[in-house]
Amino acid sequence: MKRMILTVFLLLAMGVAADEAFAKWWIFGQSEEEVATRYLYLNEVSYDELGDKVTVYREILDHGQVVFKGRGQAGKNKVGAVQISFDGGGTWEKARLASDGSFELRFTPQMGETYQVAVKILDTAGKSNDVEATRKELVVSDRNITAVIRDALDQLIEAYHSEDARAFMALVDENFAGDATVLDRGVRKDFTLFDNLDLRYTLNNVTSGTQGKVFTSISFRRQVTSTRSGQTFQDRGVTEFIFVLNGEKALVSAMKNPLIFGLSEAAEVATGTVNSGENNEVLIIDESGALRLGPFGADSDTLDDTSNVPAPTNLRVTDSFPHHSYSFAFDFPIDSMENDLSTTYEIVLEESLAPGGPWTEVFREAFWDPRFPNITTTHIAQSAAFLFYRAKVESISTGEQSLPTNVVMVDNR
């Protein structure tokens, strides 16, 4: 199968290669003798790196202006004039030109308008650059940059929910700080490890900066089911992104821990850590692909499960009397008909006012009958509106504890 697919791929590639090329592949850079721009920036972003369609937003304009800065060259001659057109060559505006060929032009655009930009360099003999190669459509959007970032996050999450790696990677900058190919592998691996992913977020902060970069902080809430264990995990936290603007899109350029995408390759994908009090326990994938909730730190992605105590899973609320008592059930991997556990383990219930902790033990009893693993507690923080619970199993002889279950929330109002 592998060979067949590779063969088909090679045949297709050869078929394409048989077509007639229109340009020589070895052209790299340009000749010093040409009349051309040595470099050109539009609001601090390289003009070459912008696509055919450039969208600028109010927040990244330089005091409401589009600024062209560059330097022309003319081989043995001198640069005589630099002109920039905003109507496709109908009229030209003269740029301020220095003797070394560097130039600057500031233009105040109308919000919501579209301009056809072209750049003309003329040497003192009247020879011009290839103006056609400089043509771009400039759209001055009246959209709020926050709306653009929200769209980008919505599309990323939609692609992630539908497990579409191709659509997801189309929203990632090719210069992604943790390497786009590593992130691609990370999200594909996530897709095989997660079921029933539910990821929601709210924007905390969007700040635009230099070079078309946009800093974004979000609070997220996530729920996933592990394909391996069937256990459901919930966590929440705060994380940060850097986006770069490309056309009408915002593309992800960097992500910090705790990650919401590409968790499977966290050590390689994230390039920084958000030190927030809300990131106490977040979802972690260990080397074997097992999911767990763990205390979050810069090196927490390498945590391994070294506990010898089997972990309870799938904690759920079976009965609730707000302010009085709550009952829970959970699953346990050992059947007591074969293993007498009454003198082996205790079950421990922990409570918190936040899903990430800190946790307080509120209930403990001998693990009498694992066939019917239930807990009922009356030791509850009565004044809190929302309470969070998780359970662990503890070895009576060694005191060693298992991994905790998923966290469940109860409405205590």
Binding site: V16, D19, E59, H63, R166, A177, S219, A254, G272, V317
Partner: protein, 532 residues
Amino acid sequence: MRFRCDRGLCRWIARVWVGTACLLMTVPFSAQAADEFRLSNDFSTTYNDVSGPGDDQSSLTEGLRYLEIFNLYGNGEMGEVKYNFSLGAKVTDDPRNDSEKFSLTNMHGRFTNGIHTLTLGDTFEAFSQYSLNSAVKGASYRYADPGNMLPDLTLVYGLAYSRWDNMWGVDAVERQVAGMRLKQQLSADFWVALNGVHSFDHIRVNDSSLFKSTVYSLDWEYLPIPGLTIRGESALADTTEDFSNQADDDNNGYAHKIEAIGDGGPSRVSLEYERVSPEFLTMLGSATPDREKFKARWRYKYTKTVTMNFGFLWYRDNLDGDLAFRTDHYKPEVGVTVRRLFDRNYAVADLTYKYDRAYGDDRSTSDHFVNLGYRDRFGIFDSDTNLGVTFYDTKDSRNDDEFIYNTMLSTRHTTGDWVWKPSLSAGGWTLDNELQDTRDQVWEYALGLGVDVPSAKVTSTLKVGQNWLQKDTGTDSRKNFARLNVFYRPEFLSRLDYGMLYLRAFVNDFDYSVRDRDFRENSVTAGVSIQF
């Protein structure tokens, strides 16, 4: 060494910063009216209903909830000084939306006379990748005078908080940041910059580590010939990690990066080499410690309709030899995109192949990824089909074949004032585990219908569908879903720059083979969004 800061003092300093920022942002109002002033507001109310024995698995908050998002923006001039400012806030009673009822989402003010620039509030001065590539809440000052040869100077001071309410309500480690950047244009084609960034954590939250860090870096860019850019950065980091329950850990590391980008004619080529030592920890920049990397990309427009992409990435760890094993990763890839295939005007095909090889003394993986996509128009139907095949081969632990396939058909018809946009999508995912001889499968299909009435300024989409997860081991599940979105721009809101009423509703019905996990979510949201 232990870092201690009086919590009250730190909070007091933070509040002075916020107060000063607020005060300065009122200056434009008192001096003269802003030249441009815009306000946008989005208010929505949501009713959620969750039922079934597994309802605790839902992440919705039951009952009636609201969400209010407010933003204002303005700019203007006071004599020679130009300014702009923005302020945003969010109010909600849904704890799943935000743990705080009221949150300030952004606050920013900027004043400049063309040479001196002062920024207050949300400040994002991206110095360089290794030194500072993160926003702070504080202030920055920039001096840049193109009329003389003096270097550009940027100073930053603030708190690296994710949220404004970290200052007064939501606990977080308080990371104070001070930084300076000095950039000198040495010739028309060459500049160099020196960066120094110091960060200092206060207030331990949930036994987290506190860091004290100083990063010095030098970055530069050189343009030797037109279309060719060479740039790089070298950085040193001195970081102390203060654990809550063990001795401090001192880290001194370095990072170097050099990159060449050639852009001319049909080719765009980039080459990059990076080496980051295991002990290089940057608090506010971006870097992956313990990595040596080489990356190459070549995008070649072969003809007007054919574009080829080639890529190669190699990286490895264990630079200091402190780990038990070294792991090398090789990731070559090749792709081709063909437009107007078979002389069909709307046909676009793309084919990519990626190979992912990782090996070391304790690890050996060899994964192949093949993806084929095809978009075309057949008569009145637009189609988009994607097929992905991945072979995962990890020595002694994994031998999986994964298939992903999805296709979408859509069309558009106009009947009088009504525009109908029906669509059909179907897809699946299969994972064959050859070692355990098991197969997991997901199937999904959905029917969509978009209805637009341009004369009445109404757009809408409706999508209903179902997906199944079938596993040889574990719990099977089935989900039925329906989503409805309606957007209406009524006449009475047309005097505003932007005004829209919207309605969003969805139903998710989860059905597991283990009955006590079944649950159903019903949600309806109605809102109004305005801008003037």
